[in-house]
């Protein structure tokens, strides 16, 4: 990706905002399903550019280089799907209340409706899954949804959504993922998520 790509476009979405959307999209992709061989190859080419987040990207690239797709698939199942209880339960409601489908999910659904976001057809998982929430952030940043109040979701709206539905618990989830007994590849995903959310929280503070 190069800056040249943007030269015909109004500078409406700044480059760093686009990068945020990409990180959210990356996290969403990794938490929705295990990466296949081709995607692991792409991930192995990541190069961090400093900071905790950069170090986490390097860790992810290392993990991708040393991972067999079948093993990562099995790890994903053990961590998130596992028969008789998965190791991690990546839902906001669970982290915030100890139970699935509680009030935080109802609040999320109300905010989704307000922001012009719907659950995809055929999806039965509750919307407060971490992958779905990361997709929502990516879409909000890219201006993909049409909020009721018109326009697109600016930083204020993004921050409100983040604080209420992600910042309140997902940092703990990613930290848990980093220390999950069965996690190998996904330890690095946890590091990327935890460090990125920390940057996001600080950045929202700066913009306030």
């Amino acid at each position: 990706m190069s800056k040249a790509v943007d030269h015909t476009v109004s500078p409406a979405v700044a480059e760093e905002e686009l990068l945020r959307a990409q990180v959210y999209a990356l996290l969403a992709r990794l938490l929705a399903r295990a990466p296949d061989a081709a995607f692991l190859t792409v991930l192995s080419e990541l190069v961090g550019e400093g900071g905790d987040f950069g170090a986490a990207l390097d860790q992810l690239a290392d993990a991708a280089r040393g991972s067999d797709p079948a093993a990562v698939e099995e790890e994903f199942t053990t961590l998130f799907i596992g028969v008789g209880g998965s190791e991690r339960t990546p839902y906001g409601s669970f982290y915030l209340t100890g139970f699935l489908n509680e009030k935080p999910l109802a609040e999320l659904r109300a905010d989704m409706a307000r922001l012009g976001i719907a659950r995809a057809d055929g999806v039965t998982e509750p919307e407060d899954h971490i992958a779905a929430l990361c997709e929502m952030m990516a879409g909000l940043i890219a201006g993909e949804f049409a909020p009721e109040e018109g326009g697109t979701a600016g930083l204020d709206a993004q921050r409100a959504f983040f604080d209420r539905h992600i910042g309140s618990w997902a940092g703990r989830f990613f930290a848990d993922l980093e220390t999950s007994p069965s996690a190998r590849f996904y330890r690095a995903v946890g590091a990327v998520g935890r460090s990125f959310l920390a940057v996001e929280a600080r950045a929202f503070d700066l913009a306030a």
């Binding site: 990706m1 979405v13 929705a32 399903r33 989704m112 890219a142 201006g143």
Partner: protein
């Protein structure tokens, strides 16, 4: 594009090309914010490999509503770029 778990509501076709972010760009706060991302390692080089991404299919993906206007933001390059990386 296809997403995994969510989609824009059906009435989400939009007229405006005025995407958020301009406020952040034009203020000192925006600059501080930009610096933070740079210092934090959130750089173009770091994510270049991912931006080049690979496509993958998803059993649960839902196409976003097809309706767009000629001036719609969906047609702009920067949004297309996000779409590319969101597909992986």
């Amino acid at each position: 594009m296809t997403r995994n778990a969510v989609k824009a509501t059906d009435e989400a076709a939009k007229q405006n090309t005025d995407i958020q972010g301009t406020d952040a760009q034009s203020t000192e706060k925006g600059l501080a914010r930009r610096d933070l991302f740079r210092v934090a390692g959130l750089g173009v080089g770091a994510l270049g490999a991912v931006a080049a991404g690979v496509t993958a299919t998803s059993g649960t993906a839902e196409a976003a509503p097809a309706e767009t206007t000629s001036t719609g933001y969906r047609e702009t390059d920067h949004v297309r770029k996000v779409y590319e990386v969101s597909r992986f």
